[in-house]
Symmetry: C2
Subunit: 248 residues, 2 copies
Amino acid sequence: MNKNVSSYPFKVEPFQEDFSGRLAWGVLGNHLLRCASLHAGEHGFGYEQMSAIGHAWVLSRLVIEMDCRPRSGERYDIATWVGRIYRQFTDRFFTISDETGQPFGHAYSVWALIDIHSRQPAELGKGGSFDFSQMLIPDRTVPIAGPSRIRVKAEKPAMSVTSRYTDLDVNGHVNSIRYIEHILNFFPKETYEQKQVRRIEAAYSAETYCEETLSIFVEEQACGQFCADIRKADGRTAAKAEVVFEET
Amino acid sequence: MNKNVSSYPFKVEPFQEDFSGRLAWGVLGNHLLRCASLHAGEHGFGYEQMSAIGHAWVLSRLVIEMDCRPRSGERYDIATWVGRIYRQFTDRFFTISDETGQPFGHAYSVWALIDIHSRQPAELGKGGSFDFSQMLIPDRTVPIAGPSRIRVKAEKPAMSVTSRYTDLDVNGHVNSIRYIEHILNFFPKETYEQKQVRRIEAAYSAETYCEETLSIFVEEQACGQFCADIRKADGRTAAKAEVVFEET
């Protein structure tokens, strides 16, 4: 394996499944973020290394597309690598595979490196504080569509959610995967009994905090394709999300 | 180590912490349930083995008491064993320790074995379908108080929560640890900045389901000791919970 790719072994442990007995989306999403963090740390550009030079990684986009999800007790691996750098962004890819190497699915994420104090993008290319060029695998991508442009015209919120202590990550922000869970929670259980989620997408715009109430505007844009705009009290978008179902 | 005790190694992985940088209570709670499930499975009385003979384990009580919780990156072990059987219940204990064996804390759980069809308690003693006597370690307990009797007199609910897809476990019920998260979410972030949770207790009475709205009645019964009654729409108690804070 290319030394710039790291692969992490997992198993669907008891209490990590959704009601269908397959790996819960929330667990999968947080495992992807974990792998991103571990891979970056092992290669010298992780949370602590970036923090030491006044920088932090910010997740901008996340797309997860799964043919199917592993079941209770099943082993799987998450491989991750960085594909390219462009402007202030970097693309990080993931492949989720079974023990024989057969993919369950893939993920595509976009990250920005920001200056902790100015909150402005930091230089990722030449002249930056870390030489990312040595890390890139420009010819290796994933066979799923990248982030799309999510637009929602709905004028009335379908639901609202107030963020609480257990929604927070180590930075005191609402955990990125929680927004995906919010849109999944728009659908009743019977939707999940009839269809399976094939693709989930999230676009992150603004951090949200504890006790903040978010309004969630939802719209079906094609058969089984739902988009959501998750807005702060002042009307600004915190995140947008898309869920695509397919008949089982 | 006694062959009836199983110990499982863990590490506080990225995205498993709360905002204080310590292992999130929800992750810890689900890890305890995972260890209970793995230990039972390894010793012949797990979910699948009991299911095959028409029985299922039901969590009745859970108490977790922590001197402190491990931080990001820290390793810890969860040891678990079954202490005794009495009437239709069995006591399962847990010790959460650091790498040197120093305890972070302990947990005390009570389980009932029920008949899947009648929902009535199954026989755990002699004459039952599994000889639990060989599994017991009657003289080994944990140095924390066992389950108490939680009483809540509050007449108005402090909050209500509607359960959704991501709250469900593999059986389609709301995950047991989610009730603990509900009571933790009663408190604003600043409470967690000023105090730390020392003890959490839950008593489970009735399963709840997707789209069910729960009313949560909360009462401070002593300085830093809060009790909650989590009720279904028909007024029946689904679970009661208690949280005890201490000054940091």
